[in-house]
């Protein structure tokens, strides 16, 4: 079972996540794309753990999951706070610092 297709799939998913973050305007969808990128990198970590024959890559993927969980909790709370004050979940509307 070759490792290259897995890494290519991971690269494709990561790229889609990057394009999503750059183009979408809804803060929650942007956040989902960040999750997609984290997941894609996890796939690469697990694949390389198999290539090297040790479990360090899987431990790294586990840590990524834990950090992603913490990040989602705080990020969604921030989105909720912004929504409460500005009545919008769009990343374009939170632009007070610009002026």
């Amino acid at each position: 079972m070759s490792a290259t297709p897995f890494v290519v799939l991971s690269a494709i998913l990561f790229t889609i996540g990057v394009i999503g973050v750059l183009t979408r305007r809804n803060a929650i969808v942007v956040f989902m794309n960040i999750e997609l990128m984290l997941n894609a990198s996890n796939l690469a970590l697990v694949t390389f753990a198999r290539v090297h024959g040790n479990l360090d890559g899987q431990v790294a993927a586990f840590f990524v999951m834990v950090v992603a969980a913490a990040e989602v909790v705080v990020g969604l709370a921030i989105i909720m706070t912004i929504f409460r004050s500005r009545r919008s979940a769009s990343v374009d509307d939170a632009s007070l610092l610009k002026y």
Binding site: V7, A11, V18, I19, T23, I28, V46, V72, L76
Partner: protein, 281 residues
């Protein structure tokens, strides 16, 4: 490898769906497809622990959190197509595709080498192997993770917390205010009339009838009234019924009218009869 070639197109299609779906809920559900596909790929690659964690933590917890927030923020909050920076979308797509091409061609150039496989590492069991690593080499990272989780929990609580701007209304304050209203404006201090009183039905969508036979708007929910799902004016119904029996002002007693006797008749009629009886006494 068959599993991979079946799953990979599905996952890429779902990821593209996240990119193109207008509605955030669709994006969340497509993300779930990608995550479950990834979980299966973990299982294929000898990572059963991560398979379980991926499904429980990612698909189960994180994605449900996403859906929760989506429902709170409003499901119809779809993306606007207005660009704040001119040409940003096109540039982002071009740069993104260039980045992806760079990554993929770079990976294609690299020879990954012989795949060792995890048979040796997983000999004691995958979970045991991971635990041995977590609690020896990565023990400090593991402890730091606990600090991170506590910080995240407290951070979320602080962000979600709302200071109370007005003092909490107690029962005593509310009662005092009701009596104050009664003293100043004569507003009735008691509860509102329940629906269906003296009407022919006692369902919540039937307005209560006042002693003069008119329906009481206070007795039914304003939402039902706005929705237009109230029962058609029962007072007229009752009046028509009463008219069939008699105009209600005559002294003739109503006999055997309606399925439940004279109680079904015009309430004003009943009241007047009662008044007459009292007058006789």
């Amino acid at each position: 490898m068959v599993g991979f070639w079946v799953l990979a197109p599905i996952m890429v299609a779902a990821a593209l769906g996240i990119l193109f779906s207008r509605k955030a809920v669709h994006a969340a559900l497509l993300l779930a497809v990608v995550m479950i596909g990834l979980a299966i790929l973990y299982e294929v690659q000898d990572a059963p622990f991560l398979f379980a964690v991926q499904i429980i933590v990612y698909t189960g917890a994180i994605l449900m959190l996403f859906l929760f927030v989506l429902m709170l923020v409003g499901v119809d909050a779809s993306d606007s197509l207005v660009e704040t920076i001119k040409g940003q979308r096109l540039l982002a797509i071009v740069i993104g595709i260039a980045f992806g091409a760079l990554l993929i061609f770079g990976i294609a150039q690299v020879s990954v080498g012989v795949v060792t496989g995890l048979q040796a590492a997983n000999q004691q069991g995958n979970v045991q192997g991971l635990a041995a690593l977590l609690f020896s080499r990565y023990v400090f990272a593991f402890e730091a993770t606990s600090a991170l989780l506590i910080t995240a929990a407290i951070g979320a609580m602080v962000l979600a917390h709302r200071e109370r701007l007005v003092p909490k209304q107690t029962q005593a304050i509310l009662a005092a205010r009701r009596m104050q209203d009664y003293a100043t404006s004569g507003k009735h201090p008691g509860p509102l009339p329940p629906p269906g009183v003296l009407a022919r039905h006692n369902a919540v969508d039937t307005p209560a009838l006042l002693p003069d036979g008119s329906p009481s708007e206070l007795s039914v929910s304003r939402i039902l009234a706005a929705h237009g799902s109230l029962r058609a004016s029962k007072a007229q119904d009752v009046k028509a019924f009463a008219g069939a029996v008699g105009d209600g002002t005559s002294n003739e007693p109503v006999t055997g009218a309606g399925p439940r006797g004279p109680i079904d008749g015009d309430p004003s009629q009943i009241r007047e009869e009662r008044v007459e009886e009292e007058g006789e006494k």
